[in-house]
Amino acid sequence: MDLLSQKASTYEVLREHGVDRRSFIKFCTMMAAALGLESSMVPTIVAALENKPRLPVLWLHGLECTCCSESFIRSSHPIAQDVVLNMISLDYDDTLQAAAGFQVEEIRQRIMKEYAGEYVLAVEGNAPTHDDGVYCMVGGDSFLNILKETAEHAKAIIAWGSCASNGCVQAAKPNPTGAKPVYQLITNKPVINVPGCPPIAEVMTGVLTYILTFGNLPELDRLGRPKMFYGQRIHDNCYRRAFFDAGQFVEAWDDDGAHRGWCLYKMGCRGPNTYNSCANIKWNNGVSYPIGSGHGCIGCSEPNFWDNGPFYERLTNIPLIGIESTPDAIGATLAGAAVVGAGAHLVSSLIRRGTQSPASRETQKPASQTERR
């Protein structure tokens, strides 16, 4: 579009910010690594950032808690300042916007018109559908209407976090407001789901920079999640996995096993059923992740995770050790032989550690993955 070509490219803006070419190439190389790309893709990133104007982004907030925005500004590679000032044009965002009231509504209307088909809609939170949407109103209209209107001319939609991707806490049973994730409300646009409560900061900026660089969405799994960040179970990358395999478990909070960093499976850890990058990217610039700080994963990026509790009850549906599988196949595995697998593993750990039968505390639960769309 002509409009876009008049604007400064990301590289131009970076240059104007005093970033030299060498640092720029280094940045592109790091980005490629962060996105899991071959080094041969670096020139593509360089070319894209050199020539494209900043991507207009409208960031709407529905029923949510703003944890996604808070996570986003914690990003280290790249930092939020660079994303907001140099890479995208964040034209609408309730949380950071200087203007208020009808002035921000004007911006939304203008971007929808001037950049029709070109802007990205980012959605944090979801829309209540009961009673004509009166449980979330913005500017005198329902968020439901605003979401639909803004989606109409969007190039693509990013569903930030578990609220927008899966429904999250307000959609937990009995879902009093009829809250629905974006993909159930907008069906004629590409929707990229970036679940997590919140998503990891670098996953958020990674998704944005991927779109910015390649001009299309990253490859998604059948739940609409980018495979590069949600392709593996936390369990498979967890440094405590060795203790799981060795049958060494934390049995009570602050016990010797907790001091030794043993596996938290018996404390209810959802790592074995959760697809996310917590164990490899980690949180807050690699400082730690939930399991690393002694608490089990609660599975916050999985659909319906609030209703798959209680959180401290151990999983009974872990796939057999050593099974490598795709997210697509895992559901079938879980629904079938998985319970046997976990059971067999526990028996071996039992023999090794000589504790009481763990089976006495187990509760059979349906495999969460079978409930997915």
Partner: protein, 573 residues
């Protein structure tokens, strides 16, 4: 009443808030409505669940003040089950609490509030050398203050504006006559806006160390999940503890050498705002930062109490456990109460949502009818303000020397009387002064943790009542905290090892509440009265006062019944 100003959405807040203000023909606000326009229903979702899980659900009430609901929740369950957490767990929780408070207050000042006082476009006219001179005078201990640094920033700003894509800064109120800072002060503030944005990622790593992630770190009923072991590489050890200490030292630098100097510098240009936005004059604090267990209120660093009618000579006792003191009204809220009832205690509360507002989309709400998803909580019938100003005033009025010292020092520097605190600027200043206390308390709590470890105690959890089989058949408890935005309390009723009822009264409901049955305004509404507006189409003045409270509307998550319609017994926000 010649003009009605509507601000919706109010931006740079958490959640969804609408303000309508009625101006007289001189442009002075004569009536105001605060309308919470979202509602999520978390308490009903909690019913029937494991009380040990409640912290995770309630933590998701808010991702900005992440952790405070988790803290109130584990305290409520521990209160019900009579669990006393080990001293180390109390200290680690205090460290996490203060980390959150410091980080949240700094973000509020720079990223949610500063643009009400700082004109970004004016910064384009700044002279870099003069800005450097100003910065070195205002904040002599802050290192990034050279003329070259400000020159680069000014160039960056100019290019950003020239790109034609103004992003979050477009269509705002730049050039409005209410902006008083000279260009150099504006440029310095923009620099610190960006520096604070970069820094806030750092301090919060304390949450990652003890809670695994932020936002939404993990909590645990009975203590903390992160074990401490000085002999293992796999628990919190000397390496992580040193990291915590370094992060606290960095925070002290930011607060003492950047935030406080900026706050005083900005405040000195807006003396008129010490006479605007005072509002109710009633302040309530539950208190927090226990030093000897949560039940020993006398040992809290943040004292409990109520100040009425700005009378600092009298601090009245408040008891969140005494439900006779707190009653909620719905005269102007979209709920019905059963016949003959006009105010209810949280324990006997009813929530029958009944939207009677205008058909969507609407232009205006009716100030004489119901107009908000928030109820109107009242203390002994009084509308109350909660938050940093309330805490500083109650601390000051209680005669606590730490509070008197920081307040006195700031008032002296600005040459203002104590009555200047009862204002929009007073509220904003109180947040900064509280941050100063908090960041030094943070180091004191760290030292307390180290002293405990030195004495040989490294325990972090009491698991004696972890198993539900050890619980009584029925138990009730409450847990309170002082969230960044004010007094917060959770009430839990546990029956047969499940949550029978869960109730929450949050700070923003006190502050953002609509009118009650007697027509008394809530704190936001009262604070807007008598404010002169220079240009009703550009509501900078309204934003200043509303932002001075640091609104958090997601917390306003009332309950709906399972059928999506009605319900009794479960209250609340």
């Amino acid at each position: 009443m010649s003009t009605r100003v509507v601000v919706d959405p109010v931006t740079r807040i958490e959640g969804h808030l609408r303000i309508e203000a009625m101006l007289d023909d001189r442009g002075v606000i004569k009536d105001a409505m605060s309308s919470g326009t979202m509602w999520r229903g978390l308490e009903i979702i909690l019913q029937g669940r494991d009380p040990r899980d409640a912290w995770a659900f309630t933590e998701r009430i808010c991702g900005v003040c992440t952790t405070v609901h988790a803290l109130a929740s584990v305290r409520a369950v521990e209160n019900a089950l009579q669990i006393k957490v080990p001293p180390n767990a109390e200290t680690i929780r205090n460290i996490m609490y203060l980390t959150q408070m410091v980080q949240d207050h700094v973000i509020h000042f720079y990223h949610l509030h500063a643009l009400d006082w700082v004109d970004v476009v004016s910064a384009l006219k700044a002279d870099p050398a003069a800005t450097a001179a100003l910065a070195q005078k205002v904040a002599p201990s802050w290192p990034l203050a050279s003329a070259g640094y400000f020159k680069d920033l000014a160039e960056t700003l100019k290019k950003f504006v020239a790109s034609g894509q103004l992003g979050i800064f477009q269509n705002a109120y730049w050039g409005h006559p209410a902006y008083k800072l000279p260009p150099e002060a504006n440029l310095m503030a923009v620099a610190h806006y960006l520096e604070a944005l970069k820094w806030q990622r750092e301090l919060i790593k304390i949450h990652t160390i003890f809670g695994g992630k932020n936002p939404h770190p993990n909590y645990l009923v009975g203590g903390t999940a992160a074990a401490i072991s000085l002999q293992h590489s796999t628990a919190v050890n000397m390496g992580q503890l040193n990291f915590v200490r370094t992060l606290i030292q960095g925070a002290i630098q930011v607060v003492e050498n950047m935030y406080l100097p900026d706050l005083l510098a900005v405040a000195s240009f807006y003396p008129e705002w010490t006479a605007i936005g005072g509002g109710l004059g009633n302040y309530m604090v539950y208190g927090d930062l226990p030093q000897n267990g949560i039940s020993d209120v006398s040992q809290f660093r943040i004292p409990r109490g109520v100040v009425l009618n700005k009378n600092l000579a009298d601090v009245q006792p408040v008891d969140p456990a005494d439900m006779a003191q707190i009653r909620e009204e719905v005269a102007h809220s979209w709920y019905d109460y059963s016949q003959g009832k006009d105010a209810l205690h949280p324990w006997e509360g009813e929530t029958t949502p009944h939207y009677t507002g205008p058909k969507l989309p609407y232009k205006q709400l009716d100030e004489n009818g119901k107009y908000s998803w928030l109820k109107a909580p009242r203390w002994k019938g009084h509308a109350m303000e909660v938050g940093p100003l309330a805490r500083m005033l109650v601390g000051y009025a209680s005669g606590k020397s730490e509070f008197k010292d920081v307040v006195g020092e700031a008032l002296g520097a600005l040459k203002l009387p104590a009555t200047a605190l009862f204002s929009t600027l007073g509220r904003t200043a109180a947040r900064g002064l509280e941050t100063r206390l908090a960041v030094h308390w943070l180091m004191a709590e760290y030292d307390r943790l180290i002293a405990s470890l030195k004495s040989g105690d490294s325990s972090t959890a009491d698991t004696s009542r972890w198993e539900p089989s050890s619980w009584p058949a029925e138990a009730k408890g409450y847990g309170f905290t002082e969230a960044p935005r004010g007094a917060l309390c959770h009430w839990v009723h546990i029956k047969d090892q499940k949550i029978a009822n869960y109730q929450i009264v949050v700070p923003s409901t006190w502050n953002a509440s609509p009118k009650d049955g007697k027509g008394q305004h809530g704190a936001y509404e009262a604070a807007l009265l008598d404010t002169p507006m220079a240009d009703p189409k550009r509501p900078v003045e309204i934003l200043r006062t509303i932002h001075s409270f640091d609104p958090c509307l997601a917390c306003a998550s009332h309950v709906l019944g399972p059928d999506g319609r009605t319900l009794a017994e479960v209250v609340i926000r």
